[in-house]
């Protein structure tokens, strides 16, 4: 054959190559590739777990944000409710205070009237007293008037004795 081509040696080379293919596939290529594939699978699994955890965390965050918003809305509603109740209480208190004040004023007015009446009565009595005292003084100053009084009192005493006798 030209170029020293020998079919027997070509076949022997092929046999050697096929043998080497089997050796390398079983001993090196497959175990290393399997290990790499397994590790890649593991990494993918971890990545998926991380993504899931992240997604859960996002969901949880959304839930909490929603809860926070709900709580804020509840708080606002409660605040409004409390405010309304407080307003009603205030109105009630003011109304009570007004009625109490009116009552107090009425009582005070009544008391003042009563005091006024009492004072008027006392003043009238005092005036009467003063007048009588003044009249007495005036009478005392006039002798005739005093004799008249004496004679009046004496006749009154005689009449009383005559009635008793």
């Amino acid at each position: 054959m030209p170029l020293n081509i020998d079919w027997q040696q070509i076949l022997l080379h092929m046999f050697n190559l096929i043998l080497l293919f089997g050796i390398l596939y079983i001993l090196l290529y497959k175990p290393v590739r399997d290990y790499m594939a397994k590790r890649e699978e593991e990494y993918k699994k971890r990545e998926q777990q991380t993504k899931d955890a992240l997604s859960d965390a996002e969901k949880l965050k959304d839930d909490y944000e929603k809860m926070l918003k709900d709580a804020e809305a509840d708080m606002a509603a409660k605040r409004a409710e409390i405010s309304a109740a407080a307003e009603a209480d205030r109105e009630q208190i003011i109304s009570d205070a007004h009625s109490r004040a009116a009552k107090i004023v009425d009582e005070a007015r009544e008391k003042a009237l009563s005091e006024h009446d009492r004072l008027m009565a006392r003043t009238q009595a005092e005036i009467t007293d003063y007048v009588s005292k003044a009249a007495e003084k005036i009478v005392m100053q006039d002798d005739n008037l005093s004799d008249d009084f004496d004679s009046f009192f004496e006749s009154a005493a005689q009449q009383k004795e005559a009635g008793n006798g």
């Binding site: 020293n4 022997l12 092929m14 050697n16």
Partner: protein, 268 residues
């Protein structure tokens, strides 16, 4: 190493180089026993330096290289399988990283070129890549074996032999054909047969590339005057570059054609 020691070391190296160079000149340029054209022809054809395969048949030394390389790879793979792979950790060490990179490169090559069918292709291109790379570097070891004529010969790269290169090219073509059959059935066979020149082009590309390196190295070593210092650069650079380039080219071509013929046709 301090400055004084370094200077002394450089001076000694220079003296040795000068002495070897002078002795080379004085020796008369080499007393070659066989002419250069015969050496080169033998490097290509291996007509004379036959080696016995297990005492059965005389074969080219490259076949012995091929089986030796397979033996070395087998022992290495076995040690790795028993002692290293069971201790793989999630955070890889240096050696684990190298192994994962080697497998990952060829696996990615197969996946990117043939996304629909790549399991077998990945394993094949890994084998081919490792074989071409290690086989080419094997040349650097300079293992000497006795020839059947009673002389001795340095084992070349397995693929520097035309038979080794043809077997690799034909096997790669068979793999491509198998991809065509598995992917498209009879249509896949036709698609593959369309590129009938492929095994020849792949074989001769591989053979030519590796042989050119071998020939240049042979030429450099042939003359005494060029066999100092220069071979360090020429042989090593040629070998390493060929190991890398040819491993890449053949595996890339195989993956490319495999992906092309095994791709499901659009009308299916």
């Amino acid at each position: 190493m301090d400055k004084k020691k370094r200077t002394r070391f450089i001076i000694i190296i220079l003296i040795l180089l000068t002495l070897t160079f002078i002795s080379t000149i004085l020796s008369g340029g080499g007393a070659e026993e066989e002419p250069i054209n015969e050496v080169m022809q033998d490097a290509v054809l291996h007509s004379y330096g036959k080696v016995s395969l297990f005492g059965l048949i005389p074969v080219n030394p490259a076949l012995i290289s091929a089986y030796t390389v397979t033996g070395i790879i087998f022992v290495f793979a076995l040690i790795v399988r028993i002692f290293v792979i069971p201790r793989f950790s999630e955070i890889p060490g240096r050696f684990q990283l190298v192994l994962e990179q080697a497998v990952g490169i060829f696996d990615n090559l197969a996946t990117s070129n043939s996304p629909h069918r790549h399991k077998f292709l990945g394993a094949y291109v890994f084998t081919a890549g490792v074989y071409i790379f290690i086989g080419t570097l094997f040349e650097l070891l300079g293992v000497i074996v006795p020839t059947i004529s009673g002389g001795s010969i340095t084992l070349p790269a397995p693929l520097a032999d035309i038979n080794g290169a043809i077997s690799m090219g034909v096997l790669s073509y068979c793999v491509i054909l198998s991809g065509g059959i598995a992917g498209n059935g009879f249509k896949g066979v036709l698609n593959t047969l369309k590129d009938l020149s492929l095994p020849i082009s792949m074989s001769f590309r591989l053979f030519g590339a590796l042989l050119s390196g071998a020939l240049v190295t042979e030429l450099v070593y042939y003359y005494n005057t060029t066999s100092y210092v220069i071979p360090i650069f020429v042989a090593v650079m040629f070998t390493i570059l060929h190991a890398l380039i040819q491993a890449y080219v053949l595996t890339m071509l195989t993956a490319l054609f495999y992906g092309e013929v095994s791709e499901p046709s659009s009308d299916e």
